[in-house]
Amino acid sequence: MTSPVYAADPPAARVAVALDALVAVYHRPSGATHLLAAPSPELLDALAAGPADAVTLRDRLAALYDLEGDGTAMIDARMEELIVAGLAWRI
């Protein structure tokens, strides 16, 4: 069984501004602005190291944060939202 592998534009393609609990992200290639709640901004940043599946993303996040909650299923759900928003894609 293969799990989806996700990719995103490099961080230079985005401008991120922290707004308390949210992060406003301007995506240069599309000219669209998005408001993201955790863990979506962290997931995008974690993709800067290259395309990854949910397990790899969880491991990258775990290196930076104490993770709480059900890992990979939630990561897949969040990544689907980022794909719909045009901030990430499946490869």
Binding site: A32, T33, H34, A38, R58, L61, D70, G86
Partner: protein, 142 residues
């Protein structure tokens, strides 16, 4: 006046104290606490022209580079470069670009060139033909 009720907020070790699911100051990241969507897109005005989105066109390559080939990662190179694919026979419409981005191969285009075309479209920048079309596609529909 007693001031001992002024507890310090930071209290490491106490988990489940972050109901909003935000990345806390202690470096805790709640993966499972966000039941609702975590992404809201602010649509640019041009996205409201939904009817025109599907009919807009993305020339590959853009007119100043007509005839050039496209590498698998979407860069333009000289015609007949090994490993690169020929440009499509006609501009790709917004609807076709959307299908390609979603992994489908619309009729009239070589399926094996799909990835190169998609990557080219992703690289489109302001000022390049087709950019506005691509940007419109990226915006969620109402």
């Amino acid at each position: 006046m007693a001031q001992d009720c002024d507890k310090p907020e930071k209290n490491p070790g106490e988990s489940a104290a972050n109901p909003l699911g935000v990345a806390g100051r202690r470096g805790v990241l709640m993966l499972g606490a966000v039941a609702a969507t975590s992404v809201v897109t602010i649509r640019p005005a041009l996205a409201s022209t939904a009817a025109s989105v599907l009919n807009c066109k993305i020339p590959i390559p853009d007119p100043p580079h007509t005839g050039q080939y496209i590498t698998q990662d979407g860069k333009l190179v000289a015609a007949n470069t090994k490993g690169a694919v020929a440009p499509p026979p006609r501009p790709i419409t917004g609807e076709e670009a959307k299908k390609m981005i979603n992994g489908q191969s619309p009729a009239g285009f070589d399926p094996s060139s799909r990835e190169a075309y998609v990557n080219y479209i992703r690289r489109l920048q302001h000022g390049t033909s087709g950019f506005t079309c691509y940007a419109s596609l990226q915006a969620p529909r109402p």
